[in-house]
């Protein structure tokens, strides 16, 4: 009887763990899937962008934007640690802190990014991208929406390779390229 109970307990434990794992996977996939990213590397130089590098940049840029959206929506810092470094991480942290103080939050949805690599350093230690980003931006004061609009913003981006990923070091919006 005791053995039967234990088996049942284990079964429930595994089932719950499985559901939680599946839910978290689906959640992170959903967050990532909401960010559409296209990358054009044809104009990159002086170094050519290899296809593996291209895939890595795409994957990490998409992840960075979903992490940033999460951080600025829920005013949490954790998700900024991996995908951002240097100045970009610093100003994002300051943004979150500032939002926590003022009670504001931003919601980025329906994101679509058209990336163009415009410079890839001779030794491959930095890539500059131009991102024409389109998204739905909502700014909220508590629960009250104070801005709700579709925007197109141009970003100049510097990414550097780390041990296992590309990180955004600079993310600077400009009126045009």
């Amino acid at each position: 009887m005791s053995r039967t109970v234990k088996r049942a307990d284990y079964f429930h434990l595994f089932a719950v763990a499985g559901i939680l794992f599946l839910a978290s996977s689906l959640n992170s996939y959903a967050a990532d899937a909401a960010v559409q990213v296209q990358l054009d590397v044809n104009k990159a130089g002086p170094r050519a962008v290899e296809s593996l590098t291209e895939r890595g940049i795409l994957r990490d840029y998409r992840f960075a934007w979903s992490s940033m959206a999460q951080a600025l929506q829920f005013n949490t810092l954790d998700s900024l640690e991996g995908p951002f470094s240097g100045q970009a991480r610093q100003w994002l942290r300051q943004t979150v802190t500032s939002q926590q103080q003022s009670g504001l939050s931003r919601r980025y949805s329906d994101q679509s990014h058209h990336l163009e690599a415009v410079f890839y350093a001779p030794e491959g230690d930095v890539v500059e991208l131009h991102d024409t980003a389109q998204y739905h931006l909502q700014i909220l004061d508590g629960d009250k929406t104070i801005l709700d609009e579709n925007v197109v913003v141009h970003y100049v981006v510097l990414m550097t390779p780390g041990a296992d990923r590309w990180t955004i070091r600079q993310l600077q919006a400009v009126p045009q390229f």
Binding site: P46, Q87, Q90, W91, L92, Q94, T95, S98, Q99, Q101, S102, G103, L104, R106, V118, F119, A121, P122, E123, D125, V126, E128, H130, I139, D141, I146, L147, E149, V151, V153, V156, L158, Q170, Q172, A173, V174, P175, F177
Partner: protein
């Protein structure tokens, strides 16, 4: 009569509300630079809530309509996209961009830190100008790159930044020694050092003589083809082939010469190699 009064009052309130809502507006100066103080003029009357969101800023405060809203230098330190929102009964917004201020520092990446001499396109450098708030300066500026070895200038070129970056690539010099690489932009200078080392050995030659305990082999001073002495620690591999088989000894170069003691009593043919370069062969006769 009462009904008429009610209608009049409602019409008056609606008109007043429309008046306030329509009058509330924002006027933002065009393209301020990072760290610049600006004033946003508002129209209308009464009170409103002003919001400013942008990179590293998220500000909210009450403002009287019809007066200027002062934004301090600290509010606009980061270049990028800002949204100013003014909310009374309804919200009105205006977005604007802050551009980088004048360059005050250079991020300068140079590769490699150690390079063999006379190698094609061996040294490269990339420079990014930043302003005092660490914004990337995208307006084109001239960056002067210089490479100096001792007193001699090996390379000097002014490169105009494009998309906020300037770069160069050049062959390494002919002499081993430290190389100073400089990127300069007006008063801003960034310096890096590259150590040029001898290239592969040229004419690796060895001599050998029998001793009481075996064979002492050594190289002549090892140079590359430009005459630079190979650095201490470079490995030379001596291989002795005799009637009893083959023996190998690795010896580091010390003050230009590599030496090794090899065990062999019979006739031995000894050769040497360093990296991909083979030296001469010598034959040492058997011990009498």
């Amino acid at each position: 009569m009462t009904r008429l009064l009610r209608i009049c009052a409602a019409t008056y309130l609606a008109a007043a509300c429309v008046g306030v809502c329509a009058a509330q507006d924002l006027h933002i100066p065009e393209s301020p630079a990072a760290g610049q103080e600006i004033s946003i003029s508002t129209s209308g009357s009464g009170k409103a809530t002003f919001y400013l969101t942008g990179p590293a800023v998220s500000r909210k405060n009450d403002v009287p309509l019809g007066e200027d809203i002062h934004l301090a230098a600290q509010d606009l330190r980061n270049a990028g996209h800002y949204v100013a929102i003014l909310c009374s009964d309804t919200c009105k917004s205006a977005s604007f961009y802050v551009s980088a201020a004048k360059p005050l520092s250079l991020t300068f990446l140079v590769h490699p830190s150690r390079v063999p001499v006379a190698l094609h396109d061996a040294i490269s450098g990339v420079a990014f100008p930043f302003d005092q708030y660490h914004n990337l300066v995208l307006a084109p500026v001239n960056v002067n790159f210089q490479l100096n070895a001792k007193e001699a200038s090996l390379f000097s070129r002014a490169v105009r930044t494009k998309n906020g970056v300037a770069w160069f690539r050049t062959p390494s010099g002919k002499s081993a020694g430290p190389l100073q690489v400089t990127a300069a932009l007006d008063d801003v200078t960034a310096r890096r050092a590259v150590q040029q080392v001898a290239s592969d050995p040229c004419n690796l030659r060895i001599t050998g003589q029998r001793t009481k305990t075996g064979i002492l082999v050594q190289t002549e001073p090892v140079h590359d083809c430009a005459g630079n002495v190979l650095p201490d620690g470079t490995i030379v591999t001596f291989t002795a082939t005799g009637p009893h088989g083959k023996g190998t000894v690795d010896a580091p170069i010390k003050q230009g010469v590599a030496r090794a003691q090899m065990d062999s009593t019979g006739v031995a043919v000894i050769s040497a190699a360093s990296g991909v370069v083979m030296g001469n062969e010598i034959r040492v006769e058997a011990r009498p």
